[in-house]
């Protein structure tokens, strides 16, 4: 039994801090484990993969800190991020979870922090804090995380996890969700999050910042601008929902490789696009060779082999029409290999099998082979969902052209316009849908729903696209965490929220060694903010003589303006003395002195 009071006294805080010049966020990991468990498990352990801990608990701490440190070194915030974390004995095959503790909208920032780019839009707690410049809830965490203490993770921090699952990678992925890589939509219903009453006033459901960048290319709408029904429909449009953020799109070419297996309808325009498909465990792999042809529905007798004329279980009655084309067959009754074998006999060059009514709600299946027909198959075949199959069927009258191929001009995980696809499978997967990159991505990405074994610990291009998305939603680069984005900051590595810049050059005063640009560095300048007008003026009289700088950093104008005279004669006398000094130093000529004196 856990002792809560003792926990509070023994909460472990791992402080991750970096100097601002290197990008910074402080991430506090608050240990929610009791003595002897989780982070505090005393079981001896041999150091592994750069993890020097000598107990299981210490190794978990070190791995967790390592993952958090990677995030801390990539995101910038002046507000500390609190992660309450624990390792608990979870059920078999349940590895862990993490998420944002609270969400905020309509931020009220402290100047110069920018606040939220979108109104009535939820932001995860840590991101909201960064954008507003302060902690919105001083007694709540920003993220909550728990992981399995009985799953055999690889606890090294070097990524050499071999056959084990790398804890650091899992942590990076889950912390990413908690920091903002997720929407708050119910993909199953399309509903947004968060209607509530505050006193008598009702606040309706509202969108989230992730949805502001989730674009459905079939209708050109982002999820933030859709109705609930539109979002629900969009959530299963495999391959047609993309991330519409500039940073991700710009970075995609450096990460995603050209060439991805695709089932694409080329015409008619109304149904053209990439389709979610299942692959076959028999026949050639997609792309060997590419197949592009018109699609023809196979027709076979309704007989003992199969009761429907669309099931392709018997030899086709329209073999001539199928020959040289892609055969479209309905799933059911007989095996996948038998259907493809019949199509092959009819001379088809490829096969699409779409789900039957009994499987209308299921994803396109992976199609298993068998020892009878499987070895004889020489043409490529794929499966589609029932909705997609019927969509093609309904357009066959006007002719449908499709390709089963590897398109060398399209990057794996992006669409034809180069925008990175989000994972929108059919049937909808509440959670993995939308809030991940598409599994078609290659290279594999950290924020795909499956945490692949070949991932590195990088969040950035050219290895990964996680940070570009985080930039898009508001985690802007701000190395000095003064609220000014680095690209617009006149001192990106020195906090100067006021952006003061006396000489209006490219460097703000906070990082400019010579604020007034008079050639004398500030640390020895008698006046770092000198009057540096080009010529000496007295009253309305412009002498035309240069406003020269004395060795101590004062300009002629500084010294003339500082004169305290008892009368005009005294003023003229003091001006003369200053000019004599300048002349003696060779800073002005006699003629220039005369011009100034005539103004005095």
């Amino acid at each position: 039994m856990k002792n809560i009071a003792r926990f509070l006294l023994l909460s472990l805080v791992l402080i991750l801090a970096t100097a601002p010049a290197f990008a910074a966020a402080n991430i506090f990991i608050i240990n929610n484990d009791g003595p002897g468990e989780g982070f505090n498990d005393p079981t001896p352990a041999a150091p592994v993969g750069g993890n020097t801990g000598t107990t299981l608990g210490l190794q978990r701490q070190i791995a967790f800190v390592h993952a958090a440190n990677i995030w801390a070194n990539n995101i910038d915030s002046n507000v500390d991020i609190y992660v309450v974390a624990a390792f608990n004995p979870l059920a078999p095959n349940v590895l862990g979870s993490a998420g944002a503790w609270d969400v905020f909208s309509d931020l009220t920032p402290i100047a110069p922090y920018p606040g939220s780019a979108f109104s009535q839009t939820w932001y995860s707690s840590a991101l909201a804090d960064k954008l507003a410049g302060y902690d919105h809830d001083l007694v709540a965490p920003d993220l909550n995380a728990q992981f399995s203490s009985n799953f055999n993770f690889y606890l090294g921090i070097d990524g050499n996890h071999g056959p084990l699952n790398d804890l650091v990678t899992v942590l990076l992925h889950e912390l990413g969700h908690g920091l903002g890589f997720q929407n708050f939509v119910s993909e199953a219903t399309g509903a947004n999050l968060g209607n509530f009453f505050d006193g008598p006033r009702f606040y309706p459901l509202q969108t989230d910042v992730y949805s502001q960048f989730t674009l459905d290319t079939t209708n050109g709408l982002t999820w933030s601008n859709m109705t609930q029904a539109q979002r629900q429909a969009s959530a299963i449009r495999y391959g047609r929902v993309v991330w519409n953020g500039a940073n991700v799109t710009a970075a995609a070419p450096s990460v995603l490789l050209f060439g991805a297996p695709e089932v694409r309808v080329l015409s008619p325009t109304g149904i053209a696009g990439s389709y979610q498909f299942g692959t076959a465990g028999f026949g050639p792999v997609i792309g060997n060779p590419n197949v592009t042809a018109s699609v023809v529905a196979a027709i076979d007798p309704a007989d003992v082999a199969g009761p429907a004329t669309t099931d392709g279980c018997s030899f086709f009655t329209n073999a001539a029409a199928v020959a040289g084309r892609i055969a479209l067959i309905e799933r059911g009754t007989c095996g996948f290999t038998q259907k493809v074998s019949r199509a092959q006999s009819a001379g088809a060059i490829g096969v699409i099998i779409y789900n039957n009514a009994a499987n209308a709600a299921t994803a396109p299946p992976g199609m298993a082979t068998d020892p009878i027909f499987g070895p004889t198959i020489t043409i490529p075949s794929v499966s589609l969902s029932r909705a997609d199959g019927l969509n093609i069927v309904s357009n066959l009258g006007g002719g449908v052209t499709a390709t089963i191929s590897v398109d060398p001009t399209i990057r794996a995980g992006a669409d034809a316009n180069g925008q990175v696809r989000l994972y929108m499978p059919f049937p909808v997967s509440g959670g993995s849908s939308g809030s991940h990159y598409d599994t078609a991505a290659l290279k594999n990405l950290l924020m795909e729903p499956s945490i692949n074994a070949d991932l590195t610990h990088s969040l950035n291009p050219p290895q990964d696209l996680t940070m570009p998305l985080m930039r898009d939603i508001g985690w802007f680069a701000d190395a000095d965490v003064d609220g000014i984005e680095d690209s617009a900051d006149n001192c990106p590595n020195t906090s100067n929220g006021d952006q003061a810049n006396f000489d209006n050059d490219s460097q703000g005063d906070a990082c400019d060694a010579d604020d007034d640009n008079d050639g004398v560095n500030d640390d020895v300048d008698a006046n770092p903010n000198s009057n540096t007008q080009p010529t000496v003026t007295i009253g309305n009289c412009n002498s035309g003589s240069p406003n020269v700088v004395f060795p101590n950093g004062l300009t002629l104008m500084d010294r003339i303006n500082a004169i305290v005279a008892t009368n005009h004669g005294d003023f003229v006398s003091q001006v003369s003395a200053i000019l004599n000094e300048a002349k003696a130093l060779g800073l002005i000529s006699g003629a220039q002195k005369g011009a100034i004196m005539s103004c005095a």
Partner: protein, 156 residues
């Protein structure tokens, strides 16, 4: 160095220097952890399952038995444990949430971490595990091959 870093450095008795800084450990009290404990205590498996008195069965071999080097289905106890944990971890607020408007106009939605994503895994024949990051119980159940067996109650 920023003031806050200087403060932490002083508190830790160490210097925090750039990216080479090593994480330091400090034991403190934290009301933020208490928030999580309170929420966890309130969180129970979904009412729906309790009302329906559902049982679950495992249809897929997802556990690698290291003794026999083979895959096996979860036992009844393991299945029940998975269901219990997953229901708790995937529990979501209904679309209505506990919210408030702060004095400065900022809206706060208290979801108490209940939009967390959950990583589940299933073993493959070679003893490795493939993973999936999910947010709903149904998705986790489908991935793990858990099937609902309704035995009574308010069935629809």
């Amino acid at each position: 160095m920023k003031m806050r870093n200087a403060f932490y450095a002083a508190a830790l008795g160490t210097a925090l220097i750039g990216m080479s800084a090593q994480a330091e450990v400090k034991w403190i009290t934290s009301p933020r952890a208490e928030k999580v404990k309170q929420a966890e205590a309130r969180r129970t498996p979904s009412t729906q399952s309790v009302v329906k008195r559902e049982r679950w069965s495992a249809t897929r071999a997802i556990i690698f038995d290291h003794a026999t080097k083979t895959l096996r289905k979860p036992t009844a106890a393991e299945t029940a444990s998975m269901v219990e944990h997953l229901e708790k971890m995937t529990s979501k607020p209904v679309r209505s949430i506990a919210g408030r408007v702060q004095a400065n106009g900022t809206r706060q939605g208290s979801i108490e971490g209940e939009h967390a994503t959950v990583v589940v895994a299933r073993a493959t024949a070679d003893g490795q595990y493939e993973t999936l990051c999910v947010q709903t119980f149904d998705e986790a159940a489908e991935f793990l091959g858990l099937v609902r067996v309704v035995t009574g109650g308010n069935q629809q």
